[in-house]
């Protein structure tokens, strides 16, 4: 398995659960690396069911949203499923304002999300 510096990756059944190491997904350099690590899960490791758990994330920039959108496209192109969970209210506000809550399948917590695959 490839090393992931920005992500904590675990498996629950056939679902890959991803947590973020950084509290602030803002910095442009970090976002590029984060994007590559996320894309690698789909394109190189062929993980079909991805759950991104945002419990550690306190800030999210528009550049990070862009990476999530690109990830969603890659997951769909590989016939997989992507779900998001444990998003703090102030971060959910960002998804709601940009209407990305319609694009992503966002669940309250990890167990809700796992049950929905």
């Amino acid at each position: 398995m490839a090393a992931h510096r920005s992500l904590e990756v675990s498996e629950v059944g056939d679902v890959t659960v991803v947590r973020f190491v950084d509290r602030k997904i803002l910095d442009e350099a970090n976002i590029q690396g984060l994007g590559q690590e996320l894309f690698q899960l789909v394109e190189e490791e062929n993980r079909g069911k991805l759950l991104l758990n945002f419990t550690t994330v306190e800030f999210l920039s528009s550049a990070a949203l862009g990476k999530l959108i690109t990830l969603d496209k890659k997951v769909k192109a590989h016939g997989g499923k992507l779900k998001l969970s444990n998003i703090r209210p102030e971060i959910y506000e960002v998804f709601a304002i940009t209407k990305l809550n319609k694009l992503f399948d966002i669940r309250e917590d990890e167990s809700d999300a796992l049950a929905a695959f």
Partner: protein, 151 residues
């Protein structure tokens, strides 16, 4: 007129480096915390200023380290005023497509300006589009407002 007085003001001219932009942002946020701004207000300012500073460095000056970004800031009891200017050619903010339209939902870029407008009280670009003024009215009462007025 006590609410118009300036509690703190500062100006920076930084090279087009993201680390320099982050340093300035943290200085501004530290002042808000020192003046007991609420956590959601500080969160909003962080989000909007980060977007604006990254825009100036990345899209305005295109990471050209010979070009600079000027950031000016004034903190008053009820509001924060910030101006961020780059040396780029500018852009037309009215030409940025609506990222919430169905056909644009899956476009990875173009959300920064919308977040700035939603999280700040006022966002205004100059005519050239290389300088933005943003204001944030604090939601919670300023500590001075809570004190009884002097006879």
């Amino acid at each position: 007129m006590k609410n118009d007085r300036c509690l703190w003001e500062a100006e920076w001219v930084i090279p087009s480096e993201l680390a320099e932009g982050s340093r300035v942002l943290e200085e501004i946020l530290e002042q808000l915390a020192n003046h007991e701004w609420g956590t959601h207000d500080i969160y909003s300012v962080r989000l909007a200023l980060d977007e604006a500073i990254v825009n100036a460095i990345k899209h305005g000056n295109r990471h050209d380290e010979s070009k600079q970004v000027r950031i000016a800031c004034k903190l008053r009891p009820r509001e924060l005023w910030v101006e961020i200017a780059d040396e780029g050619p500018g852009f037309d903010p009215t030409a940025v497509p609506d990222c919430t339209c169905e056909e644009n939902l899956e476009v990875p870029s173009g959300r920064g300006l919308m977040l700035m407008r939603c999280f700040m009280s006022r966002v205004e670009y100059n005519q050239r589009g290389n300088s933005v003024v943003m204001e944030k009215q604090r939601a919670e009462k300023a500590p001075d407002d809570a004190k009884p007025s002097q006879p």
